[in-house]
């Protein structure tokens, strides 16, 4: 150890550099090993390696790995949902595929409106709670703790579970869906917004505070202008997610297209399932595209001085 004191600064750097490199390498190796072990464990718990007795095509039964046996069934299922479409009678075949189009279009509108109303609820709730839920802005520890727990509960419970609860309270219909998705979106958006809040420049807040501003003044003048572009971007993203959520939430009776899924499944109307799938796919694609354009416009406008 006495020798190190006589090292030149460059030699000392080389020694420290070699040490930190070696440390980084061993940390990486350990991390990779740990990750692999965890992956194998979860795969095992998730029945990836399960061996079960299955019926083979020739009628005999044998022990097999379930993954290679199950995969072909996926093809069978998809095949059942493909409707009969012939070129010479395409119009009639399509009409038969989408035979309930009036109902479905109406329910599609309901689905999008549920998503819209739920996003509005989520924005209001998430926005207001995101300020006390940000570590750098919370007026005190109680406000931070309370608002964080509220957001956690709101987003940890899946929207489909909230929907079950609200259907019980407010009966079957879109109101339950709006409340369920809105509450879940409050939790998710509030968390995202509060993280945006935690990354802001705190100096403008000092400026407002030094001029005699209250906590609310600091938020309104110091924080809101800084975070607004991010809030708009996250909100549009959440609207896309909410459309997906509201298209399935009817499964438990909370309005929208989901109830048709349930009917089609229980009546084994496989082509109805594919028709509904096409409707939702097209809707989500259109909304994704439009909101992405809008988001980029918002970001683009912000990028200009």
């Amino acid at each position: 150890m006495t020798k190190t004191t006589t090292l030149s600064p460059i030699a000392a750097f080389e020694r420290d550099f070699a040490r930190s490199r070696a440390r980084a390498r061993s940390t990486w190796a350990l991390g990779t090993l740990l990750f692999l072990a965890l992956f194998l464990l979860t795969a095992w718990l998730g029945d990836f390696f399960k061996v079960a007795q299955v019926t083979l095509p020739d009628g005999s039964r044998d022990w097999r790995w379930i993954i290679p046996v199950g995969l072909p069934k996926l093809g069978d299922y998809i095949e059942k949902t493909i409707p009969l479409l012939r070129w010479e009678s395409l119009g009639a075949d399509l009409a038969e595929w989408f035979w309930r189009w009036r109902t479905w279009l109406w329910l599609l509108l309901e689905t999008v409106l549920i998503a819209f109303a739920a996003t509005a609820l989520g924005v209001v709730g998430g926005f207001l709670v995101s300020f006390p839920a940000a570590r750098n802005l919370a007026p005190n520890r109680w406000a931070l703790w309370l608002s964080r727990r509220y957001l956690e509960i709101a987003r940890t419970v899946p929207d489909i579970v909230w929907a079950l609860i609200f259907v019980f309270c407010f009966s079957v219909g879109p109101l339950a869906g709006v409340l369920a998705i809105g509450l879940h979106a409050t939790g998710a958006l509030g968390k995202l917004y509060s993280e945006v809040n935690e990354n802001i420049d705190m100096r403008p807040l000092d400026g407002v505070k030094a001029a005699g501003g209250t906590w609310f003044d600091q938020i309104r003048y110091g924080v809101v202008p800084q975070v607004l572009p991010n809030i708009i971007s996250y909100t549009l993203l959440r609207f896309e997610i909410n459309v997906r959520a509201s298209s399935i939430i009817g499964y438990v009776g909370a309005g929208g297209l989901g109830q048709e899924f349930r009917t089609a499944m229980s009546l084994q109307e496989y082509t109805d399932l594919s028709a509904l799938f096409v409707i939702i796919l097209v809707t989500v694609m259109v909304i994704d595209y439009a909101s992405e354009k809008l988001r980029h416009r918002v970001i683009g406008v912000e990028a200009r001085p």
Binding site: V208, G212, Y221
Partner: protein, 285 residues
């Protein structure tokens, strides 16, 4: 001008207004400000110097009550500033305007709104949240901007302005507070010499024409000498020197900055004034 007594205590000719007694602030085990006792008079232009970490910024933030002291007392006239809470505290912050090294404006709001932030202490919740300001307030803000030669930028976003312009916006914001004392924390440390001069001249005009007390942290000695009636030097959180610029001799300066290893201390090296400077480089031998 101040006089020097035998015990080398600075005696101000000004009516004492702001008094700090035994003021201290600790961060963990660090004593950022330690037993500072000072009287600042009405209409004084006081410069606070000292090396980085000497407690200059903390001292100003304590006076404005952006941070709370761990001990000691601040009085302004007959008011015990250290005891103020809630609304009274906000009124004190309005009376005791502050400008910062990094300007602390809201970049994404226009200049006019940034200046009007200085009026928030007089606003209720609703008019503040809706950014609703009266015509009289806007007039006041435009007059302040005009004084600082910034009216033509009033509707621009503050973030698009140059550093010097932003600092003048911050001064305008401080002016519409109608303060009784002006604190400036390294106001010219991020500015080029031209802008630094304009900002310091603006502070001098506020001091001379409006009779406002100005307390300014500076890291350049020649600026302090050129503008201040009185210079306070801090070292390790304590007041190390308190006197007129003339009393600030080279020996005192060397002690303030504790320039170990530097045999010759050249004030011009740190200067922001526009004049040629020869920078001494430490010998390689």
């Amino acid at each position: 001008m101040g006089l020097l007594r035998d015990d080398e205590t600075y005696i101000s000719m000004y009516q004492p207004m702001l008094s700090l007694s035994g003021l201290g602030r600790s961060f963990g085990s660090t004593r950022a400000v330690d037993a500072v006792t000072l009287d600042i008079g009405t209409g004084e232009f006081v410069g606070v110097i000292g090396r980085s970490g000497a407690g200059k910024s903390t001292l100003l933030r304590l006076i404005n009550r952006l941070i709370d002291p761990t001990e000691g007392k601040i009085t302004f006239g007959t008011t015990d500033v250290t005891a103020l809470r809630g609304r009274d505290l906000r009124q004190w912050r309005r009376d005791c305007a502050m400008i910062f090294q990094q300007f602390n404006l809201v970049d994404r709001l226009d200049v006019l709104t940034n200046v009007l932030v200085g009026r928030l202490a007089a606003h209720g919740f609703l008019t503040s949240m809706t950014m609703k300001f009266s015509d009289a307030e806007r007039t006041l803000a435009i007059e302040a901007l005009d004084r600082l030669d910034l009216v033509s930028q009033a509707l621009q976003r503050a973030g698009t302005l140059s550093g010097g312009q932003q600092q003048r916006v911050a001064i305008a914001r401080a002016l519409v507070q109608k303060p009784r004392i002006m604190l400036a924390d390294e106001p010219i440390a991020s500015l080029d010499p031209g802008n630094a001069t304009r900002v310091m001249d603006a502070l001098r005009s506020i001091n001379r024409d409006d009779g406002l007390t100005v307390l300014v942290n500076l890291h350049t000695l020649d600026t302090a000498r050129a503008y201040c009636h009185r210079i306070i030097a801090m070292r390790d959180g304590r007041v190390f020197f308190d006197g007129t610029p003339l009393q600030l001799t080279d020996d005192v300066v060397r002690d303030i900055y504790g320039s170990e290893g530097l045999t010759e201390f050249n004030e011009a090296v740190t200067s922001t004034a526009a004049r040629p400077v020869v920078i001494p480089i430490r010998g390689t031998a």
